[in-house]
Symmetry: C2
Subunit: 215 residues, 2 copies
């Protein structure tokens, strides 16, 4: 059966899933790239960006798994771009250039309506203005029996967690201290929400934590 | 030179270093023992409690290191006991029975004066009523060239971190979600305070994170 999953989210030891002050220059926020330095050297990431080579191993294995087999993605507005408020025009089409790495219908949460954008390689961005439940319903319809990945960012994942909508979550815990940023868990009682850590797998540059829902 | 260290602090994936509602029945707070389930099976812990056997390995190696070579310890009031407010009498002498595992002068932070207590095996509890700097000064005088360990709990470690007094910190990150408890880092900008993760070592039941101060 189709599951709703979170995968490959880099987390700092002090609990942040992104840096502060996201902008065009800092898509992951200030210092945010330190959270993904387990992902950048992988074969999966490098090939996704048209390069060759890259490392294989444990980190790469989980990276590859997280990028494949999805029937739909859901992204928060900030994960789609740095533009805030009403769309000034149709120019911004995501951080990823002409061919985003999703290759399936991708639902972007926003308060501001916009026509769908068909990109190269199978990704179509659909803009959802009526909340996470609606986004999930549309994603389910698009995904069929395949899994739906909530891509992020932190605020979006928190919304889905609070609503009890996430079945599995894979975090890549990094040996870094960010000091400030977007907290992933602060103020959420994940245990009461039914989540537990199923397994922990040390990788090359991160420890992979797999969280499941009990009930 | 003598260093001020924190060691063997169990930390949940969601950032808690102890459970809630500490009491006589729950010295580590509700669910708190889950944070130390890497420590309990070790040879170090079992022998410390008069038993035999126990596991050796990575977790045990760090456990042993954390219990040896100290010149003095500093403990928060709650790590010493569940009694709050003025001492009703001299009955409470710590969680550890007649022979505590410290074996050196041990300074207990409290707002309520009390005479020192000499225990079996070299531990003497000294009660310090004038704050962390005074406790550290007394601990330094007692420790000589040996290291001083800040034993905990979370609130005490946070005070020392904020004051920039901790040189090294070893955390045992556990694959558990506590949901609620005593946060170790919330609201502290450890990066601005000069701390970074020096190394990460996966153990049997925890990932060991070693934090150092840059400046």
């Amino acid at each position: 059966m189709s599951k709703v999953v979170v995968q490959s989210i880099g987390l700092s030891l002090d609990g942040f899933a992104a840096g502060t002050d996201q902008s065009l220059e800092n898509p992951l926020g200030v210092l945010g790239p330190e959270l993904m330095e387990w992902f950048f050297p992988t074969k999966t990431f490098i090939e996704q960006h048209g390069g060759e080579g890259g490392e294989t191993g444990i980190d790469d294995g989980f990276a590859a798994e997280s990028m494949s087999g999805k029937g739909a993605w859901i992204l928060g507005r900030n994960m789609f771009g740095p533009v805030r408020g009403p769309w000034p025009d149709d120019e911004w089409k995501g951080w990823w250039g002409g061919e985003p790495p999703y290759h399936v219908p991708t639902f972007v949460l926003t308060h501001h309506a916009r026509e769908p954008i068909e990109m190269k390689g199978g990704t179509t961005f659909h803009f959802v203005t009526d909340g996470i439940h609606s986004a999930l319903q549309q994603a389910r319809a698009a995904a069929g029996y395949k899994d739906i990945r909530i891509g992020g960012g932190a605020a979006t994942i928190r919304q889905f967690l609070e609503a009890g909508l996430i079945d599995e979550m894979h975090l890549a815990l990094r040996p870094v201290i960010l000091g400030r940023g977007e907290p992933l868990f602060a103020g959420l009682d994940l245990r009461e929400l039914g989540y537990q850590v199923g397994k922990m797998v040390p990788g090359e540059r991160a420890v992979h934590m797999f969280i499941t829902r009990i009930s």
